[in-house]
């Protein structure tokens, strides 16, 4: 059995309490709202795309420690990446939080690897994915709020 500290790693708790890139983004070119109807959590992700790459991403809203930490780490991790690279990163991240760590994860995911404990907590996968769904919806130009359901 996994320990609670596998889920709530120090970095996760820290980002949950003091989220980075928190607040609106001036000059955002894309934005989308993510909603988890299960718990009523709601976050908005802002992105500024320039020359085909993401120059900056920020988020605001309320949520649990996992969803806030995930948004916080994600907004840092996607900086400078193209939408295609972000999609690929999300695929790997999603595998991590649903199936667990795989070879090469640490190199490919960097700080995002702190969410490796989530796969032992199936009810929390949606919390970890919420910000990603919102970001990808924003970049795809979908105006409607995305839902984890």
């Amino acid at each position: 059995m996994s320990e609670l500290t596998d889920l709530y790693q120090e970095v996760v708790l820290d980002h949950g309490k003091r989220p980075r890139n928190f607040g609106p983004l001036e000059g955002a070119t894309h934005r989308a709202e993510g909603l988890n109807p299960l718990c009523g959590d709601r976050i908005t992700v802002f992105a500024k795309l320039e020359g085909g790459a993401l120059r900056e991403a920020r988020f605001e809203g309320s949520g649990c420690a996992i969803s806030k930490a995930s948004a916080s780490v994600m907004t840092g991790a996607v900086k400078g990446k193209t939408p295609a690279e972000i999609d690929a990163l999300f695929d790997r991240f999603h595998r991590l939080v649903t199936e667990g760590p795989a070879p090469g994860d640490e190199e490919a995911l960097g700080k995002l690897a702190v969410f490796s404990g989530v796969h032992d907590y199936p009810t929390r996968v949606k919390c970890a994915s919420l910000a990603w769904h919102a970001l990808r919806a924003a970049l795809a130009g979908q105006g409607a709020p995305v839902s984890t359901e």
Partner: protein
């Protein structure tokens, strides 16, 4: 077609005689032995099940009744000429009689088996509501309602261009009865109110509410989902017109629930779903609908589940609802006291009278995170908005943690919850 017997098996007074009146105290430790699921461990810890407002566990008597039905009686009801069909029909109708007696229904034909509280409310909204509500009319709900007692009325009001109005609550989480009085107007066609709040545990003063509505000639639907297993109901004495509840929140199976309605209203209402069993004769020119309760029971019903619900009623009656209620009340009191000892814990809702549940927040830790830590300590609670988003908004919180008790809950369960909350504080310190 088997007619429902109209005589009642025992009076309201008789059914209320339980263990308490016989001078016995309810013993939860002994009752636990009737619930096989409670014996297990989760995450290596003994299961502490405090999510009873979501669904209760089922006693062996219910499991066995359903098993016996499938092993010995299974057949479709109300139509076969063969022995099994006769047995199945008898068992199904016996469950109806048991429910009628349990809720004090003057006539078992007033007991309609549905899927659950949600379906019962929708049935009333789509039949009674569509007949009675017109453009400019008002339907009254309260700030304490579960989504299932809001959305069906909202849909009706949208369709009819009617207005949904809301009785507010005060800071404690009690209904504002003066506001209720003011909102009951000449255009009010129905008041839909819960007996007990699923999110806060508030017990509404039903007698007073019904009296005020009736004084203005307004019919009342009571959502009994949270009240039935803790307080019970005497529908005839309550003065209400409709009472809805689910089997699975009163130790019965999922998939079955009850709509009770006053007979003259049920007679006046058009059928809701069409199909088999709800007809007397069908031709392509004209269909003649069946009598109550079958008019509202189209298609093959949840036979095994209804039988399971009947067994749950028998279980509750033999334990004695008053004795169970006294035990749960004492336990809830203990829970509130123990929770107050936890630093940074804030109880959400302090109603004058509480039943079943207590909601709280632990510092600024999100309820989902609290729920995850509690789960790893074997403690099952609900974390979220409890399908009462308007109430959460009114209280200014996104979600709460809710602990809810049942007849098999013990002081040890509450103490385990408190220990796990201390552990959660440490994780998020």
């Amino acid at each position: 077609m088997t007619a429902v017997k109209t005589e009642r098996e025992g009076s309201v007074a008789q059914r209320r005689i339980g263990a308490a009146e016989r001078g016995q105290r309810f013993d939860p430790a002994r009752a636990r032995l009737d619930f096989p699921i409670l014996r297990q461990q989760v995450h290596g810890k003994p299961l502490v099940y405090l999510d009873n407002a979501a669904t209760t566990q089922k006693p062996r008597a219910v499991l066995e009744a359903m098993d016996r039905y499938y092993a010995e009686q299974n057949a479709n009801i109300h139509r076969g000429v063969h022995l099994l069909s006769e047995r199945a029909t008898k068992a199904y109708e016996h469950a109806r009689l048991a429910v009628a007696r349990f809720i004090g229904a003057p006539d078992p034909r007033e007991v309609i088996f549905v899927r659950g509280t949600t379906e019962a409310v929708n049935l009333v909204a789509q039949t009674f509501g569509r007949r009675r509500v017109s453009e400019g009319d008002e339907v009254l709900v309260t700030a304490l309602e579960h989504h299932s007692n809001i959305v069906p009325w909202q849909m009706l009001c949208d369709e009819k261009r009617a207005r949904l109005r809301v009785v507010p609550i005060d800071a404690r989480g009690d209904l504002d009865l003066d506001a209720l009085e003011a909102l009951l107007g000449p255009r009010t066609r129905l008041l839909a109110v819960t007996q007990v709040s699923n999110a806060l545990g508030t017990v509404n003063p039903l007698d007073e509410i019904v009296r005020r509505a009736k004084a203005k000639g307004v019919p009342v639907l009571v959502d009994g989902a949270q009240g039935i297993s803790h307080l019970g109901i005497d529908v005839a004495a309550s003065g209400a017109d409709f009472y809805a509840f689910s089997g699975h929140k009163m130790y019965g199976p999922t998939g079955v629930g009850v709509l009770w309605g006053r007979r003259e209203l049920l007679e006046e209402m058009p059928p809701w779903q069409g199909g088999g069993d709800m007809i007397l004769s069908v031709s392509f020119e004209k269909t003649v609908y069946n009598a109550l309760p079958y008019k509202f029971e189209a298609g093959t019903p949840a036979i095994a589940e209804a039988i399971g619900l009947g067994a749950a009623v028998a279980y509750l009656e033999s334990a004695g609802l008053e004795a169970i209620a006294a035990h749960e009340q004492e336990l809830l009191q203990h829970a509130v006291e123990r929770l107050r000892e936890v630093p940074d814990l804030r109880i959400v809702g302090t109603p004058r009278r509480r039943s079943g549940a207590v909601s709280f927040l632990l510092g600024d830790v999100h309820p989902h995170d609290v729920g995850t830590v509690l789960d790893r300590h074997g403690v099952a609670v609900r974390a979220g908005h409890h399908c009462a988003q308007p109430l959460m908004q009114r209280l200014g919180v996104a979600a709460t943690v809710r602990a809810s008790v049942a007849l098999y809950s013990t002081r040890e369960d509450v103490d385990a919850l408190v220990r796990a909350l201390h552990a959660a504080r440490e994780v998020f310190a």
